[in-house]
Symmetry: C2
Subunit: 206 residues, 2 copies
């Protein structure tokens, strides 16, 4: 299984497949097909078959995919057959919404600590968390060997906080700040900036 040679764009579709399969399973379905998945996702069935074939043989021609089995395999491939500890840095409006969101843990992630540098926020409760002083970021990340961070700080602070996270051992950052951050080659970054997604759509609008 030459996983390292799989294009990142294929890797990026696997979570979509996993999400759809999980929802199918929750609604009581046991078997699906690349056609059915494709209709649900707006992706061609050929693309889905090709993507999955990069990781193994998950279904037989004509009999479809066993949803439970394929779900397990995708969870293993995406490494969410475990739960990853995540720190959240920044509790403005968006960070607050993230801290309140209950949908992470079923899908492989658990926020374990929430930080801010605003003295008015430190010590306050947000959902199940007590906001900790951002000065303690490195200490907590190191002590708990945390690999992932969500960055919901203002744009101006993003790079400085990133540098501290990376130095403390963080290897994957989900960046909500609307800016690009620089990281060493071994650190992964994904961006969530709604405007990037909207611009990708208005390109196509008349």
């Amino acid at each position: 299984m030459p996983a390292s040679s799989v294009p990142d764009i294929v890797v990026g579709r696997l979570p979509l497949y996993l999400r759809a399969l999980t929802q199918m399973a929750a609604s009581g379905k046991e078997i699906t097909s690349s056609q059915e998945l494709g209709e649900r996702l707006g992706i061609s069935s050929a693309q889905i078959r090709k993507d999955l074939s990069q990781f193994g043989e998950f279904g037989k021609q004509g009999t479809g995919y066993n949803i439970s089995y394929l779900t397990d395999q995708l969870r293993r491939i995406l490494k969410v057959d475990r739960v990853w500890d995540v720190v959240l840095v920044g509790v403005g409006d968006l960070g607050r919404a993230i801290a309140h969101y209950g949908g992470f843990v079923d899908r492989g992630y658990r926020i374990v600590a929430v930080f801010d540098n605003d003295p008015r926020k430190i010590g306050s409760q947000i959902g199940p968390f007590i906001v900790e002083d951002a000065a303690r970021l490195e200490e907590v990340v190191r002590a708990r060997a945390i690999a992932m961070a969500m960055l919901a700080v203002p744009r101006e602070a993003a790079q400085a906080v990133t540098d501290r996270l990376v130095e403390a051992g963080i290897r994957a950052i989900l960046c909500y700040a609307p800016t690009s951050i620089q990281v060493p080659r071994h650190v992964h970054v994904q961006y969530i900036d709604p405007v990037l997604h909207m611009q990708r759509m208005t390109y196509y609008l008349p």
Copy 2:
């Protein structure tokens, strides 16, 4: 300019270029290069040159890109040389954070109406908006000829609201609900689900 033949993945990188160029301009820079942009974005300079060349000749070998000119061109290509009206549906924690966010209008989008179906929320103020009754969704979208929507409703409600938005004339939906929605071919959808991005990163983690 055969824009329709440009791969969507290339289109998806243009907003990143525009965002970086806008920040460079804000810091007083006038000229940049594909190398400099590439370092900032973690994208190869060859890729950037190739992407931009699909849309025209924006720089000369050896002299780099005029930031102001390239910014204008990208804004035109992505159609954010105008401001698009957007409706926001759903004001839970996340919708509330979106309604409070002030960073849309400079980048081509303006939320013009905010909806919810919860009687306790209808009529309340969130940031600059008075929450309107979701029953009036179609009426407002049609009356103002709105093309774009942000969907921040619970997963269970996503498809039904989508169907109503599409019927009323919406042609682009930014979906924050953690589910796939089905739309006709002429409607564009982008998803924001933090877990999809995190799974795309943990795939690579040891």
